[in-house]
Amino acid sequence: MSSPHPYIPATEADRARMLERIGADDLDSLFADLPEAFRDPSIDLLPALTEPDLIALLADRAGQNAAPSRPNFLGAGAYRRSVPSIVSYLVSRSEFSTAYTPYQPEISQGTLQSGFEFQSVVCELTGMDVANVGLYDVASATAEACLMASRTTKRQAVCLLEPIHPGTADVVNTYARGAGLRVDAVSMAEELSDEHACLVAQQPDFLGTIVDLEPLANAAHEVGALLVAVADPFALGMLKAPGDAGADIVTGEGRDLAGAPAFGGPSLGLFAAGLPYLRQMPGRIVGRTKELHPSDGGKARTGYVLTLQAREQFIRRERATSNVSTAQALIALGFTIAVQALGPHGLRESAELCYQRAHDAARRIAAISGYKVPERGPWVQEFLVRGPVPAANLSSELSERGITAGLDVSDRPEPEAHNALLFCVTEATPDSHIDALIEALASIGDEV
């Protein structure tokens, strides 16, 4: 590798000049404080690569993943969406992507005003009063919601309504352990008690079924608990806003509307709540304000700042509402632009298109002899498929035919999941993939 490195502009001559000014002999002498016994250990790293070699290596690696053209019917928390083409261009503008948390609002209005747009979009979608600028992902956001519910209700247990995404349940458990909360998993709201700070319900649930949140909100409120709805923002294009159904906190995953699944991350946790909980919210919040002094001869202009920071770790430290600092701002920007590009009609049309395409696919599958699509209620984009062979075999038979099956949920307790795979079809699943699936399922059926 040549010196200087492309990422480190200073040359040997630069360094000599700087060292002289500092009065140091060489670079190493700047590290004199480091304990000598441990200084400059031997470290075994892969060799450095020039840019062309780096790109070649990683293009090769990317090619070791399944080809993007391979039919894939996995959903279960990550969905292939039609993301408007303008999103990636705008998000990649370096004024957005290479900035950090907007500590200096005068030169960060881009991040701040889009943060305010994001909060506005999240409030509209969820039907809630207030939202923050986003947390890590849906699961950690849900865990934060449980902690917040516990803080506000002063109760030490939370209740998860099954079927909920196992990843979400797992993260709630992780966070609850630290906070000393008990986590109960229940299959009906009736199991809720006045020990519970909240009831957590996923919409649609883990097996894809649309949930009627209203009775759940009532049940929760009856025992003095909050309803935390974990809602898919895409499905909210057609489903009733959780806020209108009585939810107190709404979380969700914004990744898929903002871009590609990227093996799960970067993700984006949505977090919205009713006004009473505002000062207990985790995360950054953007507020609208005005210039202190009119700057341009005329009236004071409108600007945006991080606000209500007294909740946050860098001020409140151990009494903060959360430890979160860096979150997922750039993904939130992509989410905002994508949702606004779709607009009110586009979002609804997209959700309904997804609904129609998924139901059409399900119907075609159910029509193949040997296959069943057990329904648990109305659904949007995910459905169970039971085939003529055990679920695991069906999955591997499909894989051999170049198709990635839906998730194997045959070990779930719900009777409909018995021996079933959870398939997902969205507005972005190519027709040709669905055709290939139908054909493959039929041929597997024929061979039985």
Partner: protein
């Protein structure tokens, strides 16, 4: 001769929601021509949703305009102390967006994701080498989540040792980043603050005094937030271990010591790294980040899920450690950020990473000597990656606060440094140039700060009113917090 232009638009006053017209749209959605399935029952559905209705060109212009009101690393020097704002190589983005990586489904069977998994495995191995701590989980989404993972791992270990009930305290230096105490509290511990000694290191006496069987862990930032090495940290480590507690490293400042000293060798039990800082991935206006945790053999069973394992069959797999604290996210962390960090590690190699720390430290010291005498330097000794000045003199003598100095720096074309942190330095100006700034940029920054020091004597009002040339003037943060307006429509009750 100058004449005023017409007053330009008050861009902040008109959100996207206030733009466009009903019926406009920025994208079309395909029409479904197949058999129609009736929609679910109406009480499950919404009537409508309120969103902006704009044409595609309008929407692009709006967000392009917003972007021009932001300052990123590509705009200029961004010496935000503790945040390590270094140049973000575009090749990292190019790699993360390769369709094979970007389109990978998180639930993919392992054999369909070997490209991603092998790359993450190699990143893990590299981080283990760099930290000297052999076991790693890449799951945490950012530094603070890495901290939570580390502390919960300690909790789990204490539980297995049967000491969890007893050990309810975590010691945290007063110079620590806010996430440290916040994390400790979130994990259920009470926090004891450790004072910083005269030389900017931990006060040994207090530590010795505080260390007892009620202490679960000590969280130390190395190098610390003053940009200084924690003198004698390796002895402190022994003390801590002798007391049965764990030593946690906040490794957010790894940039200063990459390739030169390792957390594991010094006696740390667990460290989190901030790859979005040290490894050059874009900060994104506040994320996404990645905050892997690396730990000793002893703590390895408790690492968050997933970790990476290579099987005898040559396949790399995601796995749950035996007694894992569990998951931190629904899936596997901010994989796109991790791929970028891998690309950075490979672009540099060991020599390169050593050049990074070498140059970062040289740059900070260069700035230190250039500014010496112009601002107070509370801890006046050679620094590592950053240097913390104080504006106390300017405050005392000219009623100019660090806040004013920062705002004025905007007029000189720079992003201001971190201010009022660490809390133990009055009127702190925490400056971290990073290795990617050329000497000319550091000199220009120093010149600007010196000019501002002079202005604070000669023309304090210019500083009090700054910035004058930014897209917007000083904002009323007090009213923002007192009467919060947090969304376009405001809360439902007000509608």
């Amino acid at each position: 001769m100058t004449a005023p232009g017409p007053r330009s638009e008050d861009l902040g006053a008109r959100l996207s929601f206030d733009r466009g017209e009903p019926g406009r749209r920025a994208v079309d959605v395909p029409v479904w021509n197949g058999q129609k399935t009736p929609l679910p029952d109406a009480h499950l559905l919404r009537d409508s949703v309120t969103l902006p209705e704009m044409g595609q060109g309008e929407l692009v212009r709006y967000y392009t305009a917003l972007s021009t009101r932001n300052y990123g690393i590509d705009s200029g020097t961004y010496p935000l102390g503790s945040c390590t704002m270094k140049f973000n190589p575009k090749v990292n983005d190019l790699i993360a967006f390769l369709p094979g990586f970007a389109d990978a489904h998180p639930q993919s069977p392992e054999h369909e994701a070997q490209g991603t998994l092998r790359t993450l495995l190699e990143l893990r191995q590299g981080l283990a080498e760099i930290t000297g701590l052999p076991h790693v989980s890449l799951a945490p989404a950012a530094g603070a989540q890495g901290e939570l993972a580390g502390v919960l791992m300690i909790t789990a270990a204490l539980e297995d040792r049967g000491e969890l009930e007893a050990r309810r305290r975590i010691l945290v230096p007063d110079s620590a980043h806010g996430t440290n105490p916040a994390t400790a509290a979130m994990a259920g511990y009470s926090v004891t603050h450790l004072p910083t000694a005269e030389d900017g290191s931990l006060d040994r006496a207090t530590i010795e005094q505080e260390l007892d069987e009620s202490v679960a862990a000590v969280m130390v930032t190395v190098p610390n937030t003053l940009g200084l090495w924690e003198n004698g940290i390796e002895q402190v480590a022994e003390l801590i271990h002798d007391a049965g507690a764990y030593l946690y490293a906040d490794g957010a400042n790894l940039n200063a010591i990459m390739g030169r000293v390792r957390y594991g060798d010094l006696g740390f039990d667990v460290v989190h790294l901030n790859l979005h800082k040290s490894f050059s991935t874009p900060h994104g206006g506040g994320g996404p980040g990645a905050g892997p945790v690396c730990c000793t053999e002893e703590l390895a069973p408790y690492l968050p899920t997933p970790i990476l394992e290579e099987g005898d069959d040559g396949l790399v797999r995601l796995a749950a450690p035996e007694r894992s604290i569990g998951r931190l996210q629904q899936f596997h962390g901010n994989v796109g950020v991790l791929l970028r960090a891998y690309a950075y590690m490979r672009a540099l190699g060991l020599d390169g990473l050593r050049s990074v720390s070498g140059q970062a430290v040289l740059n900070a010291n260069y700035l230190r000597v250039l500014l010496h005498g112009h601002y107070d330097l509370p801890y006046d000794r050679p620094v590592l990656h950053e240097v913390v000045f104080s504006g106390s003199r300017q405050k005392r003598e000219h009623d100019v606060r660090t806040y004013d100095i920062a705002k004025r720096l905007i007029d000189y074309g720079f992003h201001p440094p971190t201010v009022y942190f660490p809390l133990i330095v009055e009127e702190a100006l925490m400056i971290e140039p990073t290795e990617t700034e050329p000497p000319e940029a550091i000199e220009a920054l120093a010149e600007a700060l010196i000019a501002i020091a002079e202005e604070s004597a000669s023309d304090p009002d210019t500083l009090h009113g700054a910035p004058w040339t930014a897209p917007i003037g000083r904002l009323d943060e007090t009213t923002a917090a007192r009467r919060p307006v947090l969304s376009w429509r405001g809360p439902r009750q007000d509608r």
